[in-house]
Amino acid sequence: MSGGQPHERGGQPHRLIDAPHLGYGAITAAIADPVQRGGFGRIWAITLLCMLPLVLLTIGAIGAVLTVGIGLSGVNTTVVWGFSIANYVWWIGIGNAGTLISSMLLLTRQRWRASINRFAEAMTLFAAAIAGLFPIIHLGRPLYAYWLAPYPNTMALWPQWRSALVWDFWAILSYLLFSILFWFTGLLPDLATMRDRATTRRGQVIYGALALGWRNSARHWRAYETYHLTMAALAVPLVCSVHSIVGLDFAASLMPGWQESIFPPYFVVGAMFSGFAMVVLLAIVIRWGLKLQAMITPAHFDAMAKVLLFASIVMAFSYATEWFTAWIGGEHADRSVIGYAFSGDYAPLYGALLVCNCLCPQALWFARVRRSLPCLAILCVLINVGMWLERILIVWNTLSHGHAISLWRTYQTSLYDLAILFGPLGLFVALFLVLVRLLPIVSMHEVRQLARDEGAAR
């Protein structure tokens, strides 16, 4: 960050490249060398070691819930959904943002995406994979998870196609595989670079095999661009549909506070909001850890912070719409759930949600905040906490305060709940640490192109 200081006063030579001159070779070296020439120090190893207990905790907690049963978590006969569902929505939200950001910025020709798209997409892969675990944990009978797939079976049964769980299955499966392809396609030219720079036989063989023989030929590039752009055009509706389906898990029910037509779009914006916050957080850490100050510049953070601010305003508007429709609809149960959110058992959490998601991000109106990395980091953590609270409260408020008054109960959080909340965070960080050690975390070919367009490579 020290290198960025003078430029924040307007001395940055290029808008998106924070160095007077940055040649193609220098870009390649800055991104590829930490991976291939051992630029990872003790901090990397220590962080990875610190994450291992959390990884073990995740495995242990999931193993316990799968073997003993769903009763280990705090669910009861009234609040039948709990942390698993909230975690699922939160993680798939983060998972949706990477591909959404990357593809929307590609389609709208936002060139600054070059520096962030790779790890945003990697974030998608890991987050979507982690998200996919939670419905299985929550199934109760996880050994029958494969019944969601349509296959000829001796019981002559078919999946219930009208069930939200079946939609989730297809949405997660399609989205995960699609994201892997999208990410791998963008990675292909960079894998060729890694192959060509590898100094060991093992590196040459592994990166060479993964690069599939990519030659950087003009014909290759043309086919690549055609496919990549088409994938981006498909990714935007896919991502929106995936998180809309998550919204439909709630909206297709008959519960007060859930049965709202605003849910799908409101979930999509929420996903973009928390996911973008996670991207900013990762960008801050990666920029510092891999010394990529020249390529991830204050201008990048400024642009991302503006998106966060916009999403925060849309979220505030969505909450207000929820309250307004409950009031104007006149349905007693709906009004009662809103009243319960503000004054019931979980009211302090609801207040915290509104502060984290709607109030704090308003600081981003100020350019000084948008360009201050410590402020941004704090805001991004707050946003993600707020978004998690939003998801758990959607579950808790409605289920604790449904139509049948005699069933009203609160959720009793258990230690297993906390383990499957915090454990996967460590798993996510550990996966990311392994990734930055093996693959270029910033798209080299796109930054080279950016350097040419910005005139920084001459």
């Binding site: 049964l157 078919w158 196609w161 989205y175 070919h445």
Partner: protein
């Protein structure tokens, strides 16, 4: 039979100038190898890839139709189940799964078509033995041109355009 020449340039601008001159002199530019796509060369080496988008469309719509048919047949004919009086053929919700699967099928088919258009996977290629070829994925811009007749004038042209190294390829 003359073999194509591979010329190495330091900047995309030099490569584009050399390509334009070689083309004007009647030589045949075969391909360029650059660390990122050059917009100026998009039309230079033949027609755009024709296979990728149609393949994606066919696979996408095909898979979606197939899945819709499966939903319809399994819930109307093979295993009719009355769930709360809803119609057996619940077409609005039957659109969700075909959409997801259609997009996935389009992506997979497009990737296969991409590999097919590029002639990949092909882990080795004769060009990989050329000097400086490994720089094409890093910081050098290579142009492959087949000379019209005698290679000497083409070599001179490329060198005048700023090529650092001009090498003969071995077919």
């Amino acid at each position: 039979m003359t073999t194509p020449l591979l010329a190495e340039f330091e900047s995309p601008e030099a490569l584009i100038r050399a390509w334009a001159r070689a083309r004007d002199e009647g030589h045949r530019a075969v391909d360029a190898f650059t660390p990122f796509p050059l917009e100026e060369l998009a039309e230079a080496f033949g027609p755009p890839p024709r296979l990728i988008r149609p393949a994606m469309a066919a696979a996408g719509f095909g898979a979606a139709a197939l899945l819709y048919a499966l939903q319809w047949w399994s819930s109307v004919h093979d295993y009719p189940l009355n769930a709360g009086g809803r119609p057996l053929h619940s077409w609005p919700v039957f659109l969700l799964v075909p959409f997801e699967v259609g997009v996935l099928a389009a992506a997979v088919a497009g990737f296969a078509a991409l590999l097919h258009s590029c002639g990949l996977p092909r882990l080795h290629h004769p060009l990989f033995v050329m000097p400086q070829f490994e720089r094409a994925s890093q910081d050098r811009f290579l142009l492959l041109v087949a000379p019209k007749g005698d290679p000497a004038p083409l070599r001179a042209l490329l060198e005048a355009a700023g090529a650092r190294l001009v090498a003969e390829t071995h077919p």
